[in-house]
């Protein structure tokens, strides 16, 4: 006889908006008791927002969360914990100079006793590790652990609480080695056997097929479909994941690609190894790969933002050395950084100051800035990039994300770059601004700019790039030309399959 499965957690019609972005759009989700449920989706699909809402870190604009029959419109982190929700985030919340045992049982210290019973902590931690098949001395300081073990300690902390009934693992396997992944999977099976429900977020498709029971595919803040893992295929999942109807319009290339402008040979440093690539005049070269596989790191080397250990750069066939962003800019290489607010624009300064910051010396005579030229640049680029602002004296911090991004772009363009590196150029900006950025990229490429674009959005990569370099674990894993473009193939290469 079929029995209705017991539901541990259900979310109904959750909505969460950020300025300019809808992170969750009437999202519903259901978690059964004792199941391992995968959340699958591209970056920005709303997975993190969902788990943060469940853990009470965010408050949703509307919708309800029901945990073991108790319904909430807003839940506090404390309530979530009391109901047995434990989240292991990608970023660790650890005290590096304390021991592993202390880190795990830290929250228990407050209570009756003033002194922490170290012996007791260590004994219990040892028992816990044994249960987890983990070879780790509870006295080790957390700062001495590898990232993989740090992750294990986080998981141990989450399951050490007898109250834990729902465990959320946000990309738990990302920092782990193959052996460690096996250990983790054993733990997951044990937990499942104990009736704990697990939400498992991973970009690695094979893992989902290995340990998950069901999978919910998310896209643009909506849950697209929930499927039994046994009854689906990776092809189906990939097409659900990326197969949105194209809302953006990618302007096609109308001018030919010219001679090679920038060539990198054997770049090493900053965690990446032996990267070689070239980009031609008017070409748009895409960099694909999962987050943290060294795309940003590679191009920061090219821009001189981080120290290059080995490797050579050639600009128009001539060897150049780039030791700082200043060097790079003077040679015509510009960067639109990944983090707009922290790296891209100076939030406390005006638009005008932002736009001119990289060319101040050129528009100054005897150190005095020529205001006419300064205003001229500002006016020109505000118009050309259609920055929506009341005036050029507006502080950059007061603009919306899309407009800030345009200002950051203007800053690079004023500097007269020949090579433009764009790191996630459309992350977190609204659809209209996205389209404008795409149009601009095409316009620049038609004018002969060599563009290198890092993007985690598959559509955008395939829509705009002429060629795609695919990175995996700090190395180049493949290169595809436009004729060979195929989402699945890129995902396969990126996940090291």
């Amino acid at each position: 006889m079929y029995m209705e499965p017991e539901i541990s957690l259900s979310c109904k019609e959750l909505v969460k908006t950020y300025p300019g972005v809808v992170a969750m759009d009437h999202l519903s989700f259901e978690l059964r008791k004792g199941e391992v449920h995968a959340l699958l989706g591209e970056n920005g699909a709303g997975k993190s927002t969902l788990i943060k809402s469940i853990a009470g870190v965010h408050t949703c604009d509307s919708g309800t969360i029901t945990i073991f029959g108790q319904e909430f419109t807003s839940i506090t982190p404390r309530q979530a914990k009391e109901l047995g929700v434990e989240v292991v985030y990608q970023e660790f919340n650890q005290m590096p100079s304390l021991s592993v045992a202390e880190n795990i049982f830290l929250t228990e210290i407050r209570g009756k006793r003033i002194l922490a019973d170290q012996k007791d902590f260590q004994r219990r931690a040892a028992a816990l590790f044994q249960e987890m098949h983990l070879d780790l001395d509870p006295k080790t300081k957390v700062k001495d652990l590898t990232n993989g073990y740090k992750q294990m300690v986080e998981i141990a902390k989450a399951i050490s609480k007898p109250t834990t009934k729902i465990l959320v693992l946000d990309e738990p396997t990302a920092p782990l080695t193959v052996d460690e992944v096996d250990i983790l999977f054993k733990i997951v099976w044990d937990l499942k056997a104990r009736g704990i429900s697990i939400i498992f977020i991973s970009h690695r498709m094979p893992e989902i097929f290995e340990i998950c029971d069901r999978v919910t595919v998310m896209r643009d803040g909506k849950s697209i479909k929930t499927l039994d893992v046994a009854g689906t295929t990776r092809e189906e999942l990939v097409s659900l994941m990326v197969g949105r109807e194209l809302t953006e319009n990618y302007p096609p290339r109308e001018t030919p690609i010219g001679e090679t402008v920038l060539e990198a040979r054997g770049l090493c440093g900053n965690g990446v190894e032996d990267i070689s690539f070239h980009v031609g005049k008017g070409e748009i070269l895409g960099f694909a790969g999962l987050v943290g596989t060294g795309r940003t790191e590679t191009l920061r080397l090219v821009y001189g933002a981080d120290k290059m250990e080995k490797g050579e750069l050639y600009l128009h066939g001539e060897k150049i050395s780039v030791h700082s962003p200043k060097d790079a800019l003077s040679k015509g290489i510009a960067l639109l950084p990944e983090d707009r607010k922290l790296q891209g624009v100076l939030l406390k300064m005006t638009l005008k100051a932002n736009i001119n910051i990289s060319v101040l010396k050129q528009i100054s005579a005897a150190t005095v800035v020529n205001r006419k030229k300064e205003n001229g640049n500002a006016t020109e680029y505000i118009q050309r990039l259609r920055v929506r602002t009341p005036s050029m004296y507006q502080l950059a911090g007061n603009l919306s994300g899309g407009n800030q991004q345009k200002v950051a772009l203007a800053k690079s363009l004023v500097a007269n770059a020949k090579v433009l590196i764009m790191d996630e150029p459309t992350r977190g900006i609204d659809v209209g601004a996205k389209q404008e950025i795409y149009d601009l990229m095409r316009e620049l490429s038609a004018a002969g700019m060599a563009i290198i674009m890092i993007s985690s959005e598959m559509d955008e990569l395939l829509g705009m790039s002429d060629r795609v370099m695919i990175m995996s674990e700090g190395r180049l894993a493949g290169e595809l030309s436009r004729e060979e473009f195929d989402q699945e193939r890129i995902l396969d290469i990126a996940s090291g399959k």
Binding site: T17, P325, I357, S364, G397
Partner: protein, 336 residues
């Protein structure tokens, strides 16, 4: 789109209100204070007292201008007091007709300036190369300088400053005392650099967001070291004026100047977070402190109480600055 525009409205409004408060509130307080002391302080409202106030603030004002450069790049300089003392005692020692070597005063000025610039380089490099907190780096330099000053003077005042150079601290140009002239010149030059040259923009950009400035192609390390050099050289100038005005150099002459300079800066609205504050803020801050000190003295309030008042003002002004900053952040975060 509508979502975006709605959420955009609010921060714009609140930021403007904050900016308005920062910009004019202190000026209003300054005027209110002047009116208060004019009514209740005998002889406060007079030309002579106005000149006195200006002279009283001039030396601290020069130091505050130095502190401003350190604050604008996002750091601080707690060695201002001992650098002023160092400059005063070394200058006195070099030119004194009694205890020194009777060097040409102008040569002595150049030498002391160069040495102080060297201190600036040391402070700057400590901060940018090791990433240590500027608080500690400059405190360490200050502690060392305290010893140097005592070594130079043997803990005794150095007198015998020749008549000629005493004009620097005691002379007048027309009705205006020399220290005030020097102070005014420094304010003009600093204001010009900060407001009109690319050097000024570099300083604001570096203080506002060092990483973004670096990625925009600025040599941020150089900018920071340069700010410390400027700060130390201004301290040296304050030391010259102080020594010639008192016609002696003592090891403790600049004690606590960094606190007064910092109070003047923060009261005026120069942010501790870096990148925010103009020469206007500096002037308002300097005169608030100057008029408060002068007014309280005229009303017969003791130095002890003045010191207490200054501590309260420092805590209050920095508190407001930091509170506003974190408060804006949280409202932005919840707006998300």
């Amino acid at each position: 789109m509508s979502v975006k525009e709605n959420t955009l409205e609010k921060p714009v409004g609140t930021m403007d209100a904050g900016a308005f408060f920062k910009k004019y509130m202190m000026l209003i307080i300054l005027v209110a204070m002047s009116i208060f002391f004019s009514i209740f302080g005998p002889n406060f409202f007079s030309w002579d007292n106005a000149v006195t106030v200006c002279r009283q603030v001039s030396i601290i004002g020069i130091c505050a201008a130095g502190m401003m450069f350190a604050l604008l790049v996002g750091h601080i300089d707690l060695s201002i007091g001992t650098t002023v003392s160092f400059s005063a005692v070394l200058f006195a020692k070099l030119i004194s007709t009694k205890e020194g070597i009777e060097m040409n005063p102008f040569l002595a000025i150049v030498i002391v300036l160069l040495i102080c610039a060297g201190f600036g380089v040391i402070k700057g490099l400590l901060v940018v190369e090791t990433n240590m907190p500027a608080l500690i780096a400059t405190l360490a330099v200050s502690t060392a300088l305290e010893g140097v000053n005592l070594l130079v003077t043997d803990a005794k005042p150095i007198s015998g400053i020749p008549d000629g150079i005493a004009w620097l601290g005691q002379g007048y140009i027309g009705p205006i005392p020399m220290p005030v002239v020097i102070f005014a010149l420094i304010i003009l030059v600093a204001g010009f650099i900060l407001g009109f040259t690319y050097i000024g923009r570099y300083i604001y950009a570096t203080g506002s967001n060092t990483e973004a400035a670096r990625l925009a192609g600025l040599n941020v390390k150089f900018v920071k070291v340069a700010a410390y050099i400027v700060c130390s050289c201004l301290c040296a100038v304050a030391g010259f004026v102080l020594a010639t005005r008192l016609r002696s150099g003592t090891a403790t002459t600049g004690t606590q100047y960094q606190t007064k300079a910092l109070t003047a800066c923060t009261v005026g609205g120069i942010s501790m977070a870096g990148g925010e504050g103009t020469i206007y803020n500096l002037l308002v801050g300097i005169f608030i402190i100057g008029i408060l000190t002068n007014g309280m003295t005229i009303m017969g309030i003791s130095d002890y109480w003045q010191s207490i008042a200054q501590g309260v003002i420092l805590a209050f002004s920095v508190g407001v600055d930091c509170y506003q900053r974190t408060h804006v952040k949280t409202t932005l975060r919840t707006a998300k």
